[in-house]
């Protein structure tokens, strides 16, 4: 009976208010997502006061659509100008940019649209149908598992170091080191701050990712001829209107997509892991499976599909522990949690039994928003693709203006701009000398998770860390995955060397 009534709420999504809220959320999300530095989490926070004046389901439909569209919108600027709009699109920037400079921007956008929208739909279905059992996964992840998960994430460094494994490793270590800067919450000790207030909060991920990718790219672009385009040929390319992938194209990518969607779903459920880690794991999984002839690091469509499929598959999964347990899986989910509370809705199974008229329209709305955003975004993405026709002399300062605006708007912290400039110059030099900015970013993101997991593991094991570790099946599974990842990475490197 419960399952049948669940479907009756689909129609509620199409009420005038709910549907306009959804459209509004999608459009704002796409724009905010595409601007480097402005994240969907921030936009959701700004909309909280507005949501007081709307009925609960309308405001939640607006916020969740905004979130999905924001994660997807981040891929536009990542692909077209290598400036990831959010940290969740950083991996997309690698293959996406390589495809763009080879004149395949529209191909990249098309695949990104399909992978994202379908990923979002799948995660919405997971949210609708398997929430209660899946939420249990969230509680299985304890400090030990976070520590091991971070190590697993760090093995991705091997995959993304295309030119020199050794330099990739150095970049990763520098990233981990940089992540230790700031006042350590577990001792209140200021580490490597040299008495600068600017460094006490640590290095923010947003200024770092914008610097390493977008600002650095703007510097690289400015090295070329001012009046030529960013394409390798320097010419203007013809932009096609081929915005929808062909069936054959999808079938070629089916393995990649299915694997990445599953990775996205699982990582999305784990609190505090989220979209920014899922895409790296999915991406490096595809690199490890590379077949001869695959062009990873030089514009491989499979790599792009993996990143976009994984990051959008996390969006719905993030809400699973939120709705069932009240545990938000990421910053955006935490703010949506606040929105639930505002409307007097307490997360938990009672959300489904007592307020089905709110929660089911929200979930269906999330599903429909993911389909709809593809249709709305395709023309936007197509128009944004004209950026690739701009001469370098205009594009480069334009990117820099957006970087500065985005970073400053996101925190109003002037020091974040200096951090962004520093990382930009660093990223530029790293690119020139074959170091790996992506590895450094992985170090920055995973370093704190790794450190905090390790220190808490020692405490919660109550003095017997190894016995404790061996008694936890999930930890053993992750350890096995780490060994497999290392093994396959090395096998791949060996094969590449032979060739």
């Amino acid at each position: 009976v419960e399952n049948l009534s669940m479907f009756s709420y689909i129609l509620n999504v199409f009420s005038f208010y709910n549907f306009s809220a959804m459209l509004g959320g999608i459009i704002v999300g796409l724009v905010i997502g595409a601007i480097p530095g402005l994240t969907p989490a921030m936009a959701i926070a700004l909309l909280i006061p507005v949501s007081f004046h709307l009925p609960p389901e309308t405001s939640l439909i607006m916020l969740t659509s905004l979130y999905a569209a924001g994660i997807y919108g981040g891929s536009f600027s990542a692909i077209l100008i290598s400036a990831p709009g959010t940290e969740a699109s950083a991996a997309t920037a690698i293959e996406g940019w390589e495809l763009t400079i080879r004149g395949r921007a529209i191909d990249a956008l098309r695949i990104a649209t399909f992978s994202s929208c379908a990923g979002g739909v799948i995660s919405a279905l997971a949210l609708l149908f398997i929430s209660p059992p899946a939420a249990k996964i969230a509680l299985l992840f304890q400090p030990t598992e976070y520590f091991l998960l971070a190590i697993l994430g760090l093995t991705c460094i091997a995959s993304v170091s295309f030119k020199s494994f050794f330099k990739g490793l150095i970049s990763g270590f520098v990233g981990i080191f940089l992540s230790t800067i700031g006042v350590d919450i577990k001792s209140a000790y200021p580490r490597f701050t040299f008495d600068f207030i600017a460094l006490e909060g640590g290095i923010g991920i947003i200024p770092a990712v914008i610097g390493l990718f977008a600002f650095a790219q703007a510097l690289s672009i400015s090295r070329g001829e001012a009046d030529k385009t960013i394409l390798l040929s320097g010419e203007k390319s013809k932009l096609s209107w081929n915005l929808w992938p062909r069936f054959s194209e999808i079938m070629q990518l089916k393995g990649t997509l299915i694997r990445s969607w599953i990775i996205g779903l699982i990582v999305g459920i784990i609190p505090a892991a989220g979209a920014s880690i899922a895409q790296w794991i999915a991406y490096s999984e595809e690199i490890r499976r590379a077949k001869p002839g695959d062009q990873f690091g030089k514009g491989e469509i499979k790599g792009l599909a993996a990143c976009e499929a994984a990051n959008n598959a996390t969006t719905g999964a993030t809400f699973i522990p939120l709705f069932i347990l009240g545990i938000p899986g990421g910053i955006a989910a935490a703010i949506i949690f606040g929105a639930l509370i505002i409307h007097g809705l307490n997360p938990g199974i009672r959300l489904f039994t007592e307020t089905p008229q709110v929660v089911y329209p929200v979930m269906w709305g999330f599903l429909i928003a993911n389909v709809l955003m593809g249709f709305i975004a395709a023309p936007i993405a197509r128009s944004m693709a004209y950026l690739t026709q701009f001469p370098r002399g205009i594009l480069s300062p334009l990117i820099i203006v957006f970087c500065v605006m985005g970073v400053y708007a996101s925190s109003h912290n002037i020091y974040d701009l200096f951090i962004m400039y520093a990382f930009g110059i660093l990223g530029y030099l790293m690119n020139r000398y074959d170091f790996v900015p992506a590895a450094m970013l992985l170090g920055l993101i995973l370093g704190p998770i790794c450190e905090s997991g390790f220190r808490d593991w020692l405490k919660v094991s109550r003095g017997a860390p190894m016995t404790y570790l061996l008694s936890r099946p999930l930890s053993l599974v992750i350890i096995a995955l780490i060994f497999l990842a290392v093994f396959f990475s090395f096998r791949l490197k060996m094969r590449q060397k032979k060739r």
């Binding site: 006061p49 577990k186 006490e200 001012a226 935490a334 996101s410 109003h412 919660v460």
Partner: protein, 376 residues
């Protein structure tokens, strides 16, 4: 036409431009450059580095003027222009949402827009260091949100900070949120605070309590209790968020959590955890059945997180009073009260002597606990 000309340009190899950097309109007759020649002396206006450096300079100057600009034309009527309400955290946190819910009501009372501005970073200190430097009349139109006990981290000698409580122009207390201790619902080992303490005394450092960072209100509460109760030694796990430690509690990694009334009450009502004590002088209306720490142990342990509104330290008295009156009126607005309740804010307006007492008391607790020493 251009396409026709380009075909005839000597610098073009096939369809691909040569890469000399010749302007497009050059045709064979005018283009006599050899390879590499143009690269050396490119026109200034064409240099992208030059273009964006100018753009950047303009932007930075504009930005500087916007942040540090003096406030012109302070007329007779105060306030007569928009007010900046600075939140020293990034958007989306509890403090930020509280400020965003309050600002329209404050704006209604003051008759001018009140704009929330987030200045994140440094555990609040990027924003607070700015607020501590504000002086009237230049910064009369600026308000800052300040959290107790977090701002007292200036007492930690390791941070070498120059600010004191006198650096801020305190206006009023906005919210006051007492600390609580909670355990898993259904934990058979202890039913209440008494049982919890007895268990902990038998097994020192074996029970683990999850708290916020070192120096947070939760941590100071636990540290104060350990000093007051002989033989009470808890292992502490420091976390970034309430959710992080709740996940650890429900995943059986830790035994208890320290938190605040506002956030944890709904979980207790859902039956997901049991609140065993509130660290307040008297019981709180949200949790009428939960005893205070003093009721159970006889030791008065009081800890809380409080949010205060401050302005420049030398704000003239009549202007201070205008702000204080507006804050009081806004907090009394029934519509505001309704919204504040929904976001679990516990409104507690205090000003003047009451506020100074609270500040002094909180500082004394921090000086007694000296969390920075125990953190070694």
């Amino acid at each position: 036409v251009i396409a026709e000309r380009r075909k005839t340009c000597a610098c073009v190899e096939g369809k691909v431009p040569c890469g000399h950097g010749c302007p497009k309109r050059l045709i064979k007759a005018t283009c006599s450059k050899k390879k590499g020649e143009n690269d050396m002396k490119r026109e200034k206006g064409k240099n992208p580095l030059f273009i964006f450096l100018i753009g950047l300079a303009v932007f930075l100057v504009a930005q500087g003027a916007w942040i540090h600009g003096p406030s012109f034309g302070a007329g007779e009527k105060f306030p007569s222009k928009p007010i900046e309400f600075m939140v020293p955290w990034n958007p989306g946190g509890g403090t930020d949402i509280s400020a965003r819910v309050l600002s329209p009501f404050l704006s209604k009372e003051l008759g001018v827009p009140v704009q929330v501005v987030n200045v994140g970073g440094g555990g609040g200190w990027v924003g607070w260091a700015q607020a501590a430097k504000w002086t009237a009349p230049k910064d009369e139109y600026k308000l800052a949100y300040v959290n107790l006990p977090h701002v007292l981290s200036f007492l930690d000698p390791r941070l070498k900070r120059k600010e004191t409580l006198d650096s801020f122009g305190w206006l009023a207390l906005h919210t006051f949120d007492p600390c609580i201790w909670a355990v898993r619902e259904g934990d058979k080992r202890f039913q209440d605070l008494k049982g919890f303490i007895a268990y902990a005394q038998k097994a020192p450092k074996k029970l683990i309590i999850g708290v916020g960072g070192v120096g947070s209100d939760d941590h100071q509460g636990v540290a104060a209790a350990e000093k007051a109760i002989p033989g009470l030694q808890l292992e502490k796990v420091y976390t970034n968020s309430d959710m992080e430690r709740l996940t650890m509690l429900w995943g059986n990694s830790i035994d208890a959590v320290g938190g605040n009334v506002s956030y944890y009450t709904s979980f207790a009502k859902e039956g997901k955890l049991r609140i065993i004590a509130v660290l307040n002088e008297k019981r709180v209306p949200q949790l009428p059945s939960v005893p205070t720490f003093e009721e159970v142990t006889g030791q008065k342990i009081v800890m809380y997180v409080a949010r205060l509104i401050a302005g420049p330290r030398n704000l003239p008295e009549e202007k201070r009073q205008i702000f204080i009156a507006a804050i009081k009126k806004a907090l009394d607005n029934p519509e505001y009260k309704k919204q504040a309740e929904k976001i679990n804010d516990i409104i507690d307006f205090r000003t003047g002597k009451d506020l100074n007492e609270l500040l002094a008391k909180t500082k004394n607790i921090a000086l007694q606990v000296k969390y920075w020493e125990s953190a070694k």
